[in-house]
């Protein structure tokens, strides 16, 4: 640390004395964000002084800076979660620089030392990323090299350890990750193929995790290898993509220490032309959880990313029951059509009408006993056998939704959506024994332009179900003065809760000011309990009550 300071001081002095010209070419940019939450007790929704436990204020904040000088770059992010906002992992509490890096980039090579984010293909065997607002960060701390040896060919190599909240890496306290990836774009690589009607990209990757086996009972693999291959083929308006991944046996807390191998496949076929888009996606996941510590089951230290392929909803009630990938096994299908009824036609009217239909379903895989004396998933055994193409009758999730959006005249725009949902709450949220939620939902979102810059937007939502918390209704009105001001009032009312005392209102009042890229927003009210899913990870947000302030800027 002291050495580093001396070096930086040295650079600083040098730059002042001799290198004015050099630094005249340098740039610095960055961003800041702070979320502050003031809590108050609210007995009606079950928040007492004891729930808050003295933590009257939660503050999450970060500052990010990137320094660029020609081909050299360096960056850092400072974070302080003191104390973390409710709903974040308590292990987030702390402050420091979790993200420090320097890199050199030329046309041939790119080297990064320090912390970095990287993804191979679709991430089925390797993806590190951050979702700051959810408190998720599995960044690598190590080195990365990217080489472009010829046109169309990209080679990548990475190694290091992963971030685990604020815990520093020490020998054997978690695994080490190494990986390599190659991607070949044949249209760029082969002379004469530049404008071929077929566009073909091939890719392959390998990742290995090293973690010492200190288990007193089992003989565990210390080096776990995972491999994947992918193809992207485009022809005219069609595009086909598939990636297959395989992992050797990797007994872990998440799979109940079975010696079963892992597999995953993700495929998509799409057709797009002006005004019409159709896509079909399929996936199968079998025992594919891959973490750099086999002992943890928390949402951290993931080496890979198994994307849930269902639609990510954007309204509070439609997003109330979001799906999360079941890494131990699932088979899913997703089909979507987007169509724009042209302007001037009977249904299209003066402005055209947008239609979207989406169907997704995820089932369990079929597991059979390895032999008569071993039960399915029994610890320390091969676990089960499975037929690649067989689908179990057990439905984890099904979402059928239909959406129409239309500009009615120069002032009025509207969107309506219907959604039919089946959600296996026992599997997805671990509420063992609870029946699956069957729900109908409807949303209407209407915007009325009062003048060129003033607009009123109203959002009405309903969720009707006999299970879980019963029926909900939500209403929101937002007034905006573009591009700077907004004020909104909203209420979510759990009017159909089977428990009469829990038929609560969750009201909020919010206002915000945005200038350029600086944004300040204030929200006062009650947040209902729910799962928030963004970017592939989900987090349980407890009910809260109070004032929330968000300040964000970018330079």
């Amino acid at each position: 640390m002291r050495k580093l300071l001396i070096i930086i001081l040295g650079i600083f002095c040098l730059s002042t004395l001799y290198a004015q010209d050099l630094f005249n070419n340098a740039t610095v940019n960055g961003s800041f964000q702070t979320d502050v939450q003031f809590y108050r007790p609210d007995a009606t929704i079950g928040i007492y002084d004891s729930t808050i436990a003295g933590r009257k204020i939660g503050i999450n904040g970060f500052g990010n800076m990137i320094f660029t000088l020609g081909k050299f770059k360096a960056g850092m992010r400072y974070e302080a979660f003191m104390t973390p906002i409710a709903g974040f992992d308590p292990r987030q509490e702390g402050n420091g620089f979790p993200y420090l890096w320097a890199s050199y980039t030329s046309d041939l090579i790119e080297i990064t030392a320090g912390n970095f984010y990287e993804q191979f293909g679709n991430g089925l065997i390797f993806r590190t990323y951050e979702e700051w607002t959810l408190g998720y960060d599995n960044s690598m701390n190590g080195m990365r090299v990217v080489i472009y040896p010829m046109k169309g060919l990209t080679l990548k190599g990475v190694y290091g350890s992963q971030r685990f909240f604020w815990q520093k890496f020490e020998r054997n306290n978690r695994g080490i990750v190494r990986g390599a990836d190659a991607e070949l774009n044949l249209n760029d690589a082969v002379a004469g193929w530049e404008s071929a009607p077929l566009r073909l990209t091939l890719g392959a990757s390998a990742v290995s995790k090293y973690q010492r086996d200190a288990d007193p009972i089992y003989n565990l693999p210390e080096n776990v290898g995972a491999f994947s291959g992918r193809v992207n083929l485009g022809a005219g308006n069609f595009n086909f993509m598939t990636e297959y991944a395989y992992k050797i046996n990797d007994p872990s807390a998440l799979n109940n220490f079975i010696y079963h191998e892992g597999q995953a496949i993700l495929s998509s076929l799409s057709y797009s032309q002006k005004g019409l888009g159709v896509v079909l996606q399929l996936k199968r996941v079998d025992n594919m959880s891959f973490k750099s510590d086999r002992a943890i089951s928390a949402n951290a230290l993931d080496i890979n990313f198994l994307p849930p392929i269902n639609r990510t909803h954007a309204y509070s009630l439609t997003a109330k029951y979001p799906y999360a990938t079941q890494p131990n096994g699932e088979m899913g299908l997703q089909f979507q059509v987007n169509y724009k009824i042209p302007k001037g036609s009977l249904l299209g009217g003066k402005y055209g009408t947008g239609i979207a239909f989406n169907y997704s379903q995820v089932n369990d895989i079929v597991r059979n006993q390895v032999n008569d004396t071993t039960s399915i998933g029994q610890e320390g055994t091969l676990g089960y056998t499975t037929d690649f193409f067989k689908v179990s009758d057990h439905i984890f999730f099904r979402d059928i939704n239909f959406e129409i959006d239309k500009r009615i005249n120069s002032k009025l725009k509207a969107m309506v959506q219907y959604m039919n949902l089946l959600y296996d709450i026992a599997t997805i949220e671990g509420h063992t024994g609870e029946p699956a939620v069957e729900a109908h939902l409807a949303v209407a979102d209407v915007t009325y332009k009062l003048s060129s810059k003033n607009a009123l937007r109203v959002e009405a939502q309903g969720l009707w179900t006999k299970q879980d918390e019963g029926d909900w209704a939500a209403l929101m009105a937002e007034y905006t003065i573009a591009p700077k001001w907004f004020v909104a009032v909203a209420d979510q009312y759990n009017y159909g809760n089977p428990v009469k005392d829990h038929r609560n209102h969750y009201y909020t009042v919010s206002a915000g000011y945005t200038r350029e890229s600086t944004r300040l927003a204030l929200t006062f009210g009650r947040q209902s309990e729910g799962v928030v899913c963004v970017g592939g990870v989900c987090r349980q947000v407890p009910a809260s009550s109070g004032l929330t302030l968000t300040l964000s800027t970018n330079f």
């Binding site: 300071l5 600083f12 740039t27 984010y117 993804q119 760029d188 566009r199 595009n239 907004f486 890229s517």
Partner: protein, 165 residues
């Protein structure tokens, strides 16, 4: 304490650097048909460029892009402006981006940033986040969030830039 010292030093270091208008960082993205695309390829013959970060799960982003699309023909005729819409959807939904873009009839360039590399390099905290660049690729202004009618203010800036040239 040491960290604080480091932060101060970095602060001093940055003070020492005379302010420069930022240009675009070089990052590898994907096109909708799976080809690689280097952001150094973002150009428009010396005319203004708009870069807008969005995602399938972001309703205001799509409203903003719909608003751009409604006026894009006219804007292009008057100023020659070119729009790049950068989707930060990850592998859960990248396959659905092209069908949505075509289904909505968007006419501008759409790029994929599936692991947020470009987003991080541009210090984007929230989306929608829109950058306006002049013809030489310098960032002139930026704005986060979208409200109905905000596209008019942006277009005023585009017109000023186009007239300057």
């Amino acid at each position: 304490m040491k960290n604080l010292f480091l932060l101060l030093l970095l602060g001093l270091l940055s003070l020492n650097i005379s302010a420069q208008e930022s240009t675009l960082p070089k990052v590898m993205l994907k096109t909708l048909d799976g080809q690689s695309f280097n952001t150094s390829g973002i150009s428009n013959d010396g005319k203004p460029i708009i870069i807008s970060f969005w995602a399938l799960w972001c309703k205001p982003c799509q409203k903003e892009l719909d608003a751009f699309n409604e006026s894009y023909e006219e804007w292009q005729k008057e100023t020659g402006v070119k729009i790049y819409a950068v989707s930060i959807d990850d592998s859960r939904s990248t396959a659905r981006v092209a069908p949505l873009v075509k289904g909505k009839g968007w006419e501008f360039e759409v790029l994929l940033d599936p692991n947020g590399d470009f987003k991080r390099a541009m210090n984007v905290n929230m989306i929608p986040h829109t950058f306006l660049l002049d013809g030489s690729g310098k960032i002139i202004s930026q704005h986060t969030s979208y409200f109905e009618g905000a596209e008019l203010e942006l277009y005023e800036k585009v017109k000023k830039l186009a007239a300057k040239k």
